[in-house]
Symmetry: C2
Subunit: 427 residues, 2 copies
């Protein structure tokens, strides 16, 4: 704080909400798609031509601000504004600018452009910080074209070998990730994983859920990311005539699928409030009105912020599936589709976000993130926190995804003030 | 019985099981399809070229026996062996020879060819009956190409106007039923509905279910046909992120679909033993592992031999659907796909079948039919009963459909002895 010309000036500093909004709109025009009610969404799948165009636009803005732009070997882009202490590690913010096929204009983009806005605010007001401030966008956060998701940040922190990542094949086309990086001109010269960890990482993101809106809260203070357990259950019974087969002789995989679905709903009531469970996918064969199904395949998505409770939920599911399989004489094949342990963000940085938002006069609520974010990868190497802004109707990965200009500005101001405090703290 | 040369001869009369089996095999060669394990099935959809070929073969056999063959305006074929009393109404047996697209060789065909075998036995042994004996095959029993099913027998008994039936369009192609009848040469000159009802109707059919095999019983004595209630439930909730949406804010149509499925299973335990319930079809959108579904559509198939209980089941389903819709804040649109009241066969004719089978030394079991049959249409106009033979593994509408030669012969002998008694009774 000693470097600031005036404590009160620093506290009163605010972003230019309109400038930020205009950038969100401008970036959203690349890969724009329209919804049935005139909503404007975005389709910029990772490493496509649309992604390149978006990257070119954002890196152009970065260079316009005189920032040092580095592109690493997995295509992550980091723009840095120097601090006054040449030895100090940078405070980093960022997110991603790739989207899902029917995505919105805010998911990821908000965090990147708000970071840029923070830096432009510092430039405009000529505010110096002891630490450098960086804004990054990470490659392929959505995982919609190349799995897994959060790929760029995963490689950035050393969680996956670069060569392995470059060799990933696209899910729905013939492309190889490394080839596509070269093709769009974003196979950069900088090493990945990064040579040094940031001093801290704070990411602004839309909530992608309904909690903040439902409770009328402006700023979500994210304590961590839920652990995720995805299981596919393939149930095989015996196809039979719906009219001629007595109930006692049925081996009905559709019934078992339904019983599992209602069971996991009950599980969420038994376990801690943070436990969520979803059966999002069900495929029944032959799927005819008058035939007891031969097979049913479902997915069970279990999430919890607490690893121990998540394990309890998984074991309870396993036990119930075994019980149902025996009772109905069906066979069940269980396959794990994904398993991530919960991530806890740094309590001090989380508290800093909360205190900062409250000082700015915003209502706050602590909550976990139900979705994955680049921040959970950065949390492996540095103190990390996230700021959530409300999502209208809780919608995300949806053309109708929306966050109001007021909430966008609020989130960016919390990011600005949080980064300012982090950037000024001596090592 | 006075007309028989010898009471004991008559009682000892048996069909030629091998001749019957050979006809089943020969008819099965028309439209034959092979299963993965070498099973031989049949695809003779109503009024196709394959159906014509099958009809030609069977009517040829009828004419070879010197029977009077009539073809009516909806394509029903009736072959009659005269009785000694010119004023007596005929005793009729029969079934159908059309199949579903992946059908077997026994469903329908058995009843027609066993009826033919009964008549050939009478011819061969020169047994005279007071009443004529007729064997019929009715058009489009399966309803697989032209809905509804049991169409030919429905029109035969006056349950649907002829012109309406002739105007039915095919489900999966551009054909009109009346045009197809003409095309294959089976738009006959005889009036339909029939001018006079048979004296009685007894149909031999495969069970199409597992009960007889499960209990080791040879002859099923069919007391009636279950009532059927088919309902489609279209449930609309709110698509949401599986990670970020708390359970209390979910409006999950997939959960409601599952809860209905488990509810109807419970309903079958609460209600009488004859109540069956099946959720055979479920379609969920968008059907993704990490998305709470936006919509779910299911079908509920309820069947009972008792109309009052079936109504109770329907009302209980309605009430539970309404309760779930309110609890989960989803909307549900309910649509009836089919509704048939139960049919009770004539108790005297049913008892005659039972006594006859037991006199022949076969184990018997009374049971309802879970599937629809031409007999339920004939039951509207004359005393009617059915004889079931076991289905291996309970399979039907399946290439692997099978009934053993021994059971085929047993069923045909029960049919023979039952028809003989009915044909001899004076008006």
């Amino acid at each position: 704080l000693a470097l600031m010309t005036d404590w009160h000036d620093w506290q009163d500093t605010r972003v230019d909400g309109e400038r930020l909004w205009n950038r969100i709109v401008a970036l959203g025009e690349i890969g724009a798609i329209a919804g049935p009610n005139g909503e404007l969404g975005c389709a910029r799948l990772a490493l496509t031509d649309a992604d390149r165009e978006g990257r070119d636009l954002v890196t152009g803005w970065m260079r316009d601000l005189g920032l040092t732009v580095t592109i690493d070997a997995i295509g992550n882009v980091v723009a840095t504004r120097p601090g006054t202490d040449p030895r100090a590690a940078a405070v980093m913010t960022g997110s991603h600018i790739d989207t899902v096929a029917t995505g919105g204009r805010f998911d990821g983009n908000l965090g990147v452009l708000a970071g840029l806005e923070v830096i432009e605010t510092l430039e405009t007001l000529d505010i110096a910080t002891r630490r450098p401030v960086s804004v990054a966008f990470f490659t392929d956060e959505e995982g919609a074209r190349f799995a897994p998701d959060m790929l760029g940040s995963l490689v950035y922190v050393g969680g996956m070998a670069l060569e392995e990542a470059l060799d990933i094949a696209a899910t729905d086309d013939d492309a190889r990730l490394g080839d596509e990086l070269v093709r769009i001109g974003y196979a950069g010269p900088f090493p990945c994983p990064a040579a040094a960890a940031p001093h801290a990482y704070v990411e602004l993101h839309i909530e992608q859920g309904p909690i903040l809106e439902d409770e009328g809260v402006t700023i979500g203070v994210v304590e961590g990311v839920q652990g995720i357990s995805w299981t596919e259950l393939a149930i095989t019974g015996r196809s039979a005539h719906a009219g001629t087969t007595p109930m006692r002789l049925r081996r009905d995989p559709g019934f078992v699928a339904a019983a599992i679905t209602t069971f996991v709903r009950g599980l969420t009531k038994q376990l801690a409030g943070a436990q969520v469970a979803t059966v999002g996918r069900i495929d029944v064969r032959p799927n005819l009105v008058n035939v007891v199904p031969a097979t049913a395949t479902i997915t069970v998505d279990l999430r919890n912020t607490d690893e121990a409770t998540l394990v309890v939920a998984e074991r309870a599911l396993d036990a119930e599936v075994a019980r149902l399989a025996e009772a109905e004489s069906v066979s069940v094949t269980s396959r794990s589709l994904a398993r991530f342990e919960p991530v806890e963000f740094d309590p001090v940085t989380v508290a800093l976000v909360e205190a900062t938002a409250q000082r700015l006069g915003y209502s706050t609520r602590r909550l976990p993130s139900g979705a994955g974010h680049d921040a959970q990868m950065l949390a492996r190497v540095c103190p990390t926190a996230m700021i959530f802004t409300p999502s209208v109707d809780g919608l995300s990965h949806n053309i109708a995804e929306h966050t109001t200009p007021e909430d966008v500005t609020a989130g960016a101001n919390v990011l600005l003030q949080t980064l300012l405090q982090l950037a000024d703290v001596a090592d």
